[in-house]
Subunit: 298 residues, 2 copies
């Protein structure tokens, strides 16, 4: 559509098609094992014992937070989003770079709170803040975080490794994040590290746009369809909210059918629900449409 008509806007194109469009024919290095399309880029040589993970993400005033919240929560969120993506590959975070575009009239006390939140999150998840950049913003506060990580090659989990028959799990409950969790969530780093230590996780991602948007992405990357039997909605949330609210920052992953019962038995995180939500299927067509998630440009 946009190819033939350059007056199309990105909101009418939609997020997934925009991303597809801008990631075509990107310059690449031989050391890039996985580029755009997974939770992180993966860099290394095919037989290296440890691979490097690269991730960037941003939070913007008026989109990901409102101007009146405690900015220490904004700092926490800005870094925790990236840690969640490193976790979703099975890795551990290492070095963060913080880019902050700030209006000149912003109070220094707010900047202090922002960095207090960034540092608190960094300390809790053993992240080094290695540098960054500040700039003036003529509009909203804009915080972009780039994060490196490391993952043992044998524990690196892509979105694309799922197979028909694999059982799908999610951690925690879904929906209602806007009530506050979206600013205070705990990236599932310990859980993902435990999973990749004890099980062959076949495909994994973190839920940022809602199960309704993210599960079809994982299934598509794995060349599968999916069936959903159960959705662990947050108390007070409808199934639609659980699927579409987004910003859950829980893990969605697939294991072989024969590992599923053992995983449920052995799961050591007693305060965090682990829910078998369904399975990957061989039928890609039938499952493509019933549920929807968050489109950033809609």
């Amino acid at each position: 559509m946009a190819k033939r008509n350059p007056s199309v806007t990105i909101s009418s194109l939609g997020e997934d098609r925009l991303v597809h469009r801008i990631t075509q024919r990107l310059p690449s290095h031989p050391s890039l094992i996985t580029g755009p399309g997974d939770d992180c880029a993966v860099v290394g040589k095919p037989r290296d014992r440890v691979w490097t993970l690269l991730k960037t993400d941003c939070v913007i005033e008026g989109i990901h937070f409102t101007a009146d919240v405690d900015f220490s929560r904004v700092g926490w969120k800005a870094l925790a989003r990236n840690i969640s993506d490193i976790a979703a590959m099975g890795g551990k975070p290492e070095h963060a770079l913080i880019t902050a575009a700030l209006p000149p009239e912003m109070l220094v006390a707010k900047v202090d709170a922002l960095y207090a939140g960034l540092k608190k999150c960094a300390r809790q998840f053993d992240v080094s803040i290695a540098g960054g950049e500040t700039s003036r913003s003529p509009g909203p506060v804009f915080i972009s975080v780039a994060l490196t990580g490391r993952v043992e090659r044998t524990r690196c989990v892509f979105r694309s490794g799922g197979k028909p028959g694999d059982v799908l799990f999610v951690t925690g409950t879904l929906g209602g994040s806007i009530q506050g969790k979206h600013l205070d969530f705990t990236p599932r780093l310990a859980e993902a590290r435990w999973l990749t230590e004890h099980f062959k996780v076949r495909a994994m991602m973190d839920l940022s746009d809602g199960l309704g948007a993210d599960l079809p992405r994982l299934a598509k990357a794995s060349g599968c369809g999916f069936e959903i039997a159960h959705i662990p909605a947050t108390a007070g949330c409808s199934p639609e909210q659980a699927l579409g609210d987004g910003e859950d920052f829980e893990l969605l992953f697939a294991v072989k059918e024969r590992d599923a019962a053992k995983l449920e038995r052995d799961w050591p995180f007693k305060k965090l629900a682990l829910t078998r939500i369904g399975s990957l299927t061989a039928n890609r067509r039938r499952s493509a449409s019933p549920i929807h998630g968050f489109d950033h440009f809609a």
Copy 2:
């Protein structure tokens, strides 16, 4: 000032004091060789043959470019700024992550142009575009680029290695970048690689805020003062413009006095001026004030 009075704004605090403030007591890893304060963060072990460089930088509509320019030039600039910083450490760029916050009403044709410029710059300097993130912006277009690089340990140049008596050089001419060069500049990657191959470069940085702001930073990092004898102003620019316009993206560096003449003789880049502008001195106080550069929040 801001410590006692939280109602201070960041414009009244000023950029250098803001950066000093937010880079205090940052969580760090043992693998972080150099954190905030140089052109890039440096990661590795002290005796590794090759170190990793990490850099992030951003361009914002209304600050670093206007809405009416060809967006392929915006894409070029967004990546070239980061390559310039990798060059200033003596390194080579590797993998870039692109974070783009875009208004929903933006034309897809503009996004296409933006990414065409990013890709063109990436191809010219052998950079891989490894991933990124798109988000909706409720305000201006905001592009943040994170870039990794590699540098041989023995060729890594910090800002802090200058000594009194070292001769200061800059490449190219200074001032007037706003006429267009700021969107189309060539990062001095080949020049910096040649310098670190053939000379012991004692301190180096790229000129982004103007010699008036950047030279005092290099001198201070090296524990030196400085004397300026000559400023290579762009044709039509006053000395004040050459010092203060900013966005020159030329190299400023220091070599031992005994290497200076040989460097001037051997310089192989015939189309690019190399100018001996002065020297580092032992007197830190006298040189601190006469010239000024660009403050992002002033």
